[in-house]
């Protein structure tokens, strides 16, 4: 009985010794830096970074309505153009282009506001010319420094409207000058291309 106990104890001691030796052996696989005084050990750190996903919600198309019968100079009605930045960091919103397009019953020609005396346009010119523009509606949602200028369709270069912080909605709106002598109901189209990029 006593012999068995001794044997068991010796077995346990042997197992512990083997375990200790193996641990020391494992530690011996790492780089060992030796020296006197200060010792520098170089450790390479490898990082893997995934590109950020850009995500934005915006209207696919924007409709507007012109009623020459109401108001002193006719009424232009268009819904807000709301843009929500779902990216995890700020995103720039740029009007890349706004141009008259075919597809309506009339194809309008973009002109500057100052080019026409709008209230005096005759029937032919009323269904030919328009000064259509887009701008930030107000400061809500836009980062400091956003542009309050109107991008008119006659402009051939892009206009940076401003930056939207993450999870924020900014609003743009259409503005227009137009003639009144419409002799029938018409439809017209413009193509708006927005551009988005990380700030």
């Amino acid at each position: 009985m006593r012999t068995k106990t001794v044997k068991r104890a010796l077995s346990l001691i042997l197992a512990l010794a083997v375990t200790a030796i193996c641990s020391i052996s494992a530690m011996a696989a790492d780089t060992t830096v030796t020296g006197t005084g200060s010792v520098t050990g170089n450790v390479t750190v490898n990082g893997s970074i995934t590109a950020l996903t850009i995500s934005v919600t915006h209207p696919l198309a924007v409709d507007y309505a012109i009623n020459p019968n109401t108001g002193t100079a006719g009424t232009f009605t268009a819904p807000d153009i709301s843009i929500k930045n779902l990216t995890k960091c700020p995103v720039n919103i740029t009007v890349f282009s706004l141009k008259a397009a075919a597809g309506g019953t009339v194809t309008l020609t973009d002109v500057d506001v100052a080019d026409k005396t709008w209230a005096s346009l005759n029937a032919a010119d009323s269904k030919k010319y328009i000064a259509l523009g887009i701008k930030a509606k107000d400061a809500n949602g836009w980062a400091t420094g956003y542009s309050t200028a109107t991008h008119y369709a006659t402009k051939d270069t892009a206009s940076l409207i401003g930056a939207l912080p993450t999870n924020t909605t900014g609003t743009m709106t259409l503005v227009a000058n137009f003639g009144l002598a419409f002799d029938a109901a018409y439809t017209a189209k413009h193509s708006l291309v927005l551009m988005f990029n990380l700030v």
Binding site: I54, V56, T57, P59, A61, D63, A65, N67, T77, N197
Partner: protein, 182 residues
């Protein structure tokens, strides 16, 4: 002799009468052709003695009520369709040879109601185009369609939106992203 002369006279008179009738008839005919209404009943007098109100329906009471701006605005808002774009800000190709498959993630979220197809432009040249991506689908790869030298580039990825039934082009939006060609 006398009777012969009388006969001659009678014949002359008959001929003259017939000629006169012919001329008269022709004149009347020409007059009728050039003035079609000349022999029709004259128009009713403008004094209104014969024109009467035609009770052929009922107009709407009150002045015309134009749609208010708010009503028009509401109609336009209800027609507006929103889309959500979701794409990686980096495209990577292990080689610049045309036909190389690269890595790029684009997702057409489930809430969208349009099919999208993306085009990557290096300057004015399209260098890659995705397959059509329907709502609730995504891509993880894209094929290079032009040779591009190795390097890092600023490119524009256009997301083109199409009607899912007709395939007609609807609109597009652009994203400035980075391109790496190994």
């Amino acid at each position: 002799m006398k009777s012969k002369e009388n006969n001659r006279k009678k014949k002359t008179i008959v001929i003259l009468v017939l000629s006169a009738l012919l001329v008269l008839a022709s004149s009347i005919g020409i007059l009728a052709l050039t003035n079609p209404g000349i022999f029709s009943r004259p128009a009713e007098s403008s004094a209104g003695e014969t024109k009467r109100l035609d009770e052929n329906g009922r107009a709407i009471d009150g002045a015309l009520q134009n749609k208010s701006s708010d009503e028009i605005l509401k109609e336009l808002q209800e027609k507006q369709i929103n889309v959500t774009d979701k794409l990686s800000s980096h495209v990577y190709f292990p080689s610049g040879c045309s036909g190389t498959e690269g890595s790029w993630i684009v997702e057409n979220v489930e809430s969208n109601t349009v099919t999208i197809q993306c085009e990557v432009y290096l300057g004015d040249k399209m260098i890659a185009k995705t397959v059509p991506i329907k709502p609730n689908q995504h891509i993880e790869t894209i094929i290079l369609s032009e040779d591009v030298e190795a390097g890092e580039y600023d490119v524009v990825a256009y997301v083109n939106y199409y009607d899912p039934d007709s395939g007609n082009f609807l609109a597009k939006a652009g994203f400035k992203i980075r391109l790496t060609v190994q």
